[in-house]
Symmetry: C2
């Protein structure tokens, strides 16, 4: 089996984390850099990642996460947030960043910038929210695989109360809303889920070739 | 730099593919298996992957993809589709698969099965569609990273006409709807985009630590 397939087979939605094991600074920095390298729609990066190592905060968030204990036991809790206030200001900032990093002349960027400004001027807030939420899933898809490659255990989670996370972490003042959660760290040696066979459809039911 | 960070930095949204280079059967099989290993909400796998190698079909799809030539030039075109008819029948099928693969006793699975059946009975079709679409983004996030690790070039795309894809590929009869597209193959040697510096926010703007 190829290495990447072995890595993807090794990973599973870890339910029991070893609360005594912590990720190293090198591992955490790798996760942060990998998150920041995720592709995003138009390159606009509408997703912010929270990296929570604080024990008390993690414990407080368990009750906002359908009592799932892995939120507290994992070394760190990653929270994928969308920017609630994403608008043309962010589009402008992006193009400033492009000019700064690539030194692209204004006349080259202008048509694309005008197109995007118009797009975002005419979008409803709910539409932008949905667009950003999809990018959060893309980012989690990337990080889940990065974790697998780096043998970091992870549990992708949709089941939590965004308003509860908001209250505990003060997200509203930051213009953020939590859309996905992912505890990361090390599986507990006695997690029975680790030994379960992966349940997947046969390939011929999951894929159609043309 | 770690290998995975080097891989993620190597990847970029490839605009010009080398139309003379094809992915090998081993590479294609690795992409298919990796797709099937993607995590999904409740493990339900509501996403089907189309793998299109047929030259004429790829060419026909360019006009349905904002004339983006990479759809035809890439070795293969991956199309992430959601199941339009996803309902409790699929939930039942999933639990049959769990029993088959893990030999889990009925009494262990029952509470979770009943919970999910109820969930999906009470969901609007539009809600299920959105839920499935998010899983397609998760799958693309995984495959983009797998491609980076395997040095396969890729271009994640949201800009295409789902109805056009439906017509060309007969998706409606299959109960499918295209939500994301990703040409894969090899970058052309003269793709100017390959040399562009990556534009990313500074880490301190993308991440908040607690």
């Amino acid at each position: 089996m190829s290495t990447i397939l072995a890595d993807l087979s090794w990973r599973y939605a870890t339910k029991n984390f070893d609360s005594h094991k912590s990720l190293s600074d090198t591992q955490l920095s790798l996760l942060k850099e990998s998150f920041n390298l995720t592709a995003s729609s138009y390159g606009l990066q509408p997703v912010t990642l929270l990296v929570i190592g604080d024990k008390l905060l993690k414990e407080e968030l368990v009750s906002q996460s359908m009592k799932q204990q892995q939120v507290a036991d994992a070394s760190h809790l990653l929270v994928f947030c969308i920017k609630k206030d994403f608008d043309t200001t962010y589009v402008k900032k992006y193009f400033e960043l492009v000019k700064e990093i690539r030194q692209t002349p204004d006349e080259v960027l202008k048509p694309f910038e005008e197109y995007l400004m118009e797009q975002f001027q005419n979008k409803e807030a709910s539409e932008i929210e949905l667009w950003a939420t999809k990018q959060a899933y893309l980012a989690m898809g990337n990080l889940l695989t990065v974790c697998a490659v780096e043998k970091i255990d992870a549990c992708p989670m949709e089941g939590f109360i965004p308003e509860g996370y908001d209250k505990v972490l003060g997200l509203q003042e930051k213009g953020l809303q939590a859309v996905l959660v992912m505890p990361v760290g090390y599986r507990a040696e006695d997690d029975p889920f680790a030994a379960f066979k992966k349940v997947r459809k046969p390939l011929e039911q999951a894929i159609i070739e043309f």
